[in-house]
Amino acid sequence: MLLIHCPYCDETLPEAEFTYAGEAHVIRPPDPSALSDDDWQGFLFIRSNTRGPHYERWRHFHGCGRFFNAVRDTVSDRFLTTYPAGQPRPALETLTAASEDRK
């Protein structure tokens, strides 16, 4: 079972408290009607399916209830970092060193 750090509660807690919520930084356009079919399809359906560090969303469902972002390595299943929703995506170079911290 994964251990996940909730950036709002500032606690590292078991996966059972959290729910996965898909890829992060997929922003709903302010005026969807202005989008072409292709662009709307991209927003709705197309995801990066990354092998390696993946920006993704989690919700501390059975805790504070907040959605937040995380970088998780999809190969090792280890979290590199978590951060509040709305913050820009952290650069990967800054993360790899810290990746082994939260054991």
């Binding site: 919520a21 009607s33 709307w40 399809q41 709705l44 469902f61 959605f67 090792s76 280890r78 054991k103």
Partner: protein, 996 residues
């Protein structure tokens, strides 16, 4: 006493005899025996038949890696357990055990004909042998394979035992209580550190239990062990025996299965049979030791052929000679000691046969001193004996040449092909392995987990090496935990370090294509099968594994994987590390379903939510159904009524007078805040800005893809306050979706969302007399058409209780939904029930609710929609606020596919012959087209309707809205039913009945 029991040896208590049965025959063992050791003490080697060829088999090992000696154990009704390893099951007075895979008896088995026909059952035989004639598959081959397949017999009765689940948090978890594990604990222990040692055996000690000859720090090994265990316990170290670490999961979580009662003669009260521990450890030491490899030669599976290390364990731990005239065959030093120990215990070792040309002088000297004949540079080419080995054929080897065979008579054959570190748990962590050329095996290399390996688990042999390495690793993890660790220096006398060489199949002078040289005993895979797989094109070890099933049995390849790899690599002409190892997966040993299920069985399988009115329904004979973790009253049968009659009565009385319905399970969300209306405008398809306070509206929720997700009536209680209802099953999903948009897309909106599902009891009153019944109880509003019209809502008082009253209808009748604080629900229900007696009130359940709503064409999301239905498909374009600039799903609805012609649309169906359709039945336009027919939709809802005077149905049909009046066909197994497409409203299309 049996001639195989050696007094003065072993840890069993001969003064405490234990009687048990095997295949109905009674045997006597001693306290401390396993089933295997007790049977061996009685001279019984034949313990089972093999899976595929039904070959007679005996115990080959002494521990959990045993592939052959699988037995059934039973202790009364429901307590039968198949596939128990006889080497692990402790005996107790009265234990009943049975052998497996035999018919009619273990000694005379008809399935053994497979053995004679073994050429048919070679690798991949499923794919080849049974292909022709085709007609034989159903009637001959498949029934035969099914009857022959599987290990043991599944129990037929429910398991009466309890199983427990626990969490455990510790600083250091040590897996394996052998010398390395104990030394690690000793070196790491410190004030305040929580250290746990687990071991799958009945007592701690590991290899020390089999090596009493060693002296550690001047003490005999077993005395040293006693002192050490006492010291560890005194220091607060927790030692858990009969507890198997079955899996190693992310972030140092390990699962342990503790066997609590299987070794006890009588079951203590209130005690679980097994306990599953989920352990989160800051640091882990894996000190699981190593597993001995068999040698691969023709006849290496005959009862009496066993691992040398196992024979040593049976002798030294259990006081049992596995034979009086054993032969040892080995490529590793360790087996020599097994021969020495047996000779000293009174057996006459017929020969020690070593494949190597040179062996350490001290071993040669000791063999000579004990009078044991030695043959170096020899191979074994065959064994003889029907139900037990009676002889072995050995041949000299010189280079590639195998000389003439010579027969040696024996009653046991002890083999050793060297040792393989137990890599299973380490592999569960995705740990990387490194090939060691000297040991010709994989060793643990790197893992991301906070975990170190100690002792034989990383290729170190001998007690001193294990103790020294264990201590070093213990200090290493202590440092990681912020402690200095404890110094340790040990001296070990009579240690037995050793080395050896690794073999493929042993060389033979016979046709290797006819050899039955087993690699995987449990799945009956031979060396020949592995080579055949490579010849037939399997290149990856994963393919070889699946084609031959090598390593796929319940022993998880504990014995077979490295031998299989060596042989496959040789056949492929590639070095072993390039061929690689297949993946080990949890659980380490077979684990009961009960241990995994724990408390989650029967009524505790999942949560059952009950409304405050549920006890009333139960007292009034309701039949319940589960809906989204709720249990809801489905119908209220009166004496003699079946479901159909009860539902018809409930519908009729509701439409004639008044019905009362517990709608408390409806999801409820309070949407509050200055921006609440903006939020609602963006979430739901409907316009909300102009909805007045005190009015409610049917709301439709889409996903951004344009498909219907949920629906429900939403009331505006105040400018910035909405009372949102959702479907019963969709409440949590809708809440999550709303939170998602609010938190991440529109964090600027000032809105609060609160789930209030369980805060309200909701009682629906429907029928022509609903207003008359309710009006006298309501304070704050007149229940007239003018003061409180259809789709009005208000906060008022009902029967003296604070209430939110909605005038809504899910039946087409005059309808109200009264929400009161949940604890008051039952009281209000009873007040309404009493007051309704004068009108002949009826309580109706979900089944009648479904009929009543279907008669009016009201959809159930998830029944009449399936996640690919748009509001337009459902005929509810009227609910879409087309003038709104945006809402969730608006852009989705404009996707070309969603606007295309020919989509499946919701329509009504009336059968021509007035029969009731089956929900889920497929629909076609042309019943005479060839099979497979083109399916154009399916029936989503179907009921008998008294109000319509006939059965009615709703269906999704391609282009259905443009096909009104057309006839479609529903092919059923016995006939094809014709039905006419109609609108979805079957009763009162003008809604005249809604008026008070």
């Amino acid at each position: 006493m049996s001639q195989y029991r050696v007094p003065g040896r072993g840890r069993v208590d001969l003064s405490r005899p234990v009687d048990f049965t095997f295949d109905g025959r009674s045997y006597r063992g001693a306290q401390g025996d396993s089933v295997a050791s007790a049977l061996l003490a009685n001279g019984v080697h034949l313990m089972g038949r093999s899976f595929k060829y039904h070959r007679p088999r005996g115990a080959i090992a002494a521990g959990s890696e045993e592939p052959n000696a699988l037995i059934g154990t039973s202790r009364g009704a429901g307590r039968f357990e198949p596939n128990t390893r006889a080497t692990m099951q402790e005996i107790w007075q009265g234990l009943e055990t049975t052998s497996q895979n035999k018919f009619p008896s273990l000694k005379w088995d008809v399935g053994a004909v497979n053995d004679a026909a073994y050429m048919l059952f070679s690798a991949g035989f499923y794919y080849k042998t049974f292909m022709w004639p085709k007609s034989f598959w159903n009637k001959v081959y498949e029934p035969f394979i099914r009857a022959a397949a599987g290990l043991g017999t599944a129990p037929t009765e429910a398991d009466p035992d309890q199983y427990a689940s626990r969490y455990l948090h510790c600083d250091l978890l040590i897996v394996g209580a052998g010398p390395a594990g104990l030394a690690a604990a000793r070196a790491a222990m410190a004030e305040g550190l929580r250290i746990v040692i687990v071991d799958e055996n009945a007592e701690p000690g590991g290899s020390l239990l089999s090596e009493p000859q060693a002296r550690i720090d001047g003490l005999p090994a077993w005395d040293w062990l006693d002192d050490e265990l006492a010291a560890l316990k005194a220091a607060g170290v927790r030692i858990m025996t009969r507890t198997t670490a079955i899996g190693y999961y992310h972030y140092n979580m390990l699962a342990l299965c503790e066997r609590v009662t299987d070794h006890l003669p009588s079951l203590p009260a209130d005690t679980p049979r097994e306990r599953m521990w989920r352990v989160r450890a800051r640091q882990v030491v894996l000190a699981q030791g190593a597993l001995e490899k068999p040698l691969v030669f023709h006849g290496n599976d005959r009862p009496g052929v066993m691992l040398a290390g196992a024979a040593q364990t049976y002798l030294n731990r259990y006081g049992v000679k596995v034979g009086n005239a054993p032969v040892v065959v080995t490529s590793h030093d360790s087996a020599w000691y097994a021969g020495f120990d047996l000779q000293e215990a009174g057996a006459r070792v017929q020969a020690i046969v070593d494949t190597r040309p040179h062996v350490r002088d001290d071993l040669m000297d000791q063999a000579r001193a004990l009078g044991i004949p030695v043959r170096l540079s020899h191979t074994v080419t065959a064994t003889s004996g029907r139900l037990r080995v009676s002889g072995v054929r050995v041949n000299p080897v010189s280079g590639a040449a195998v000389g003439a065979g010579q027969q040696i008579t024996c009653d046991a054959l002890l083999m050793s092909g060297g040792w393989t570190p137990s890599l299973h748990l380490f592999s569960h962590t995705q740990g990387k392995l490194a090939w060691d050329d000297d040991l010709t095996t994989f060793l643990p290399h790197e893992t991301r987990e906070a975990c170190v390996i100690a002792g034989a688990g990383r290729g170190l042999w001998g007690i001193e090496a294990a103790l020294t390495d264990g201590a070093a690793r213990g200090r290493e993890v202590a440092a990681a935990l912020g402690h200095p660790g404890n110094p340790a220096a040990v001296s070990v006398e009579n240690d037995r370090p050793g080395s050896g060489v690794s073999q493929k199949e042993l060389p033979t002078d016979r046709n290797p294509g006819r050899a039955k040289a087993f690699v995987d005993y449990q799945n009956d895979v031979t060396a020949k099968d592995l080579r055949l797989a490579v010849r037939e094109g399997m290149r990856s070890i994963e393919h070889v594994k699946r084609y031959t099933t090598n390593g796929m049995a319940t022993d998880q390849g504990k014995m077979s994987n490295i031998n299989g790899l060596n042989i496959a690599a040789d056949a492929l002409g590639r070095p072993a590390p390039q061929v690689g190892l297949t993946t080990f997966r949890p659980p380490y040993t077979p684990t009961t379903f009960g241990a995994f299920a724990g408390y989650q069985r029967g009524a505790h399988f999942e949560v059952t939510r009950k409304t405050p009115i549920d006890p009333w329904a139960e007292a009034h004979g309701a039949v319940f159904e589960p809906v989204g973790q709720w249990r809801r009253a489905r119908y209220f049968p009166q004496p003699g009524e079946d479901m159909d009659t009860a539902v018809r009565r409930e519908c009729r009385q509701t439409r004639e007078s008044v019905g009362i319905f517990d709608a408390s399970t409806l999801g409820k969300i309070e949407v509050v805040g200055p921006d609440a209306v903006t939020f609602m405008e963006r979430m739901y398809t409907n316009p909300w800005a102009k909805l007045g306070v005190g009015r409610c509206r049917y709301g439709l929720l889409l996903g951004d893809d344009g498909y219907i997700r949920d629906d429900g009536v939403i009331g505006r209680m105040a400018e910035g306050r909405f009372h949102v209802t959702t479907t019963t099953g969709g409440a949590a999903r809708v809440m999550n979706m709303m939170e998602d948009y609010l938190q991440t897309e529109w964090p600027d909106l000032d809105v609060w969302l609160t789930s209030t599902t369980e805060q309200w009891s909701t009682i629906a009153l429907n029928g022509p007399n609903a207003a008359k019944l309710l009006a006298p109880l309501v304070e704050g509003v007149e229940l007239t058409e003018d003061a409180f019209p259809h789709m009005a809502c208000i906060e008022c008082t009902v029967a003296g209780m604070p209430a939110r009253l909605f005038r809504v209808s899910f039946t087409g009748e005059i309808g109200f939904e009264v929400n009161v604080p949940a604890p008051l629900g039952r009281k209000l229900w009873e007040i309404l029930w009493d007051a309704g007696q004068q009108y002949g009130i009826v309580a109706y359940g979900t089944e009648a609710m479904h009929v009543l709503r279907a008669e009016k064409g009201y959809i159930i999301v998830g029944q009449d929609t399936d996640g690919t239905v748009t509001p337009y498909d459902a005929g509810m374009g009227w609910a879409v606020g087309k003038k709104k600039p945006d809402f969730v799903g608006k852009r989705g609805l404009a996707r070309p596919d969603l606007a295309a012609k020919g989509r499946k649309q919701l329509v009504g169906l009336l059968t021509e012959d007035r029969s009731k359709l089956e929900e889920g039945a497929q629909i076609v336009f042309d019943p005479n087209q060839p099979i497979p027919m083109k399916m154009v939709g399916h029936v989503t809802s179907s009921y008998h309707s008294d109000a319509a005077g006939r059965p009615i149905a709703l269906a999704l049909v391609e282009g259905g809205h443009d096909r009104m009046g057309e006839v479609v066909h529903i092919p059923m197994p016995d006939r094809t039913i014709a039905a006419k497409i109609t609108g979805t409203v079957f009763v009162d299309p003008e809604n005249t009945r809604l008026k008070i």
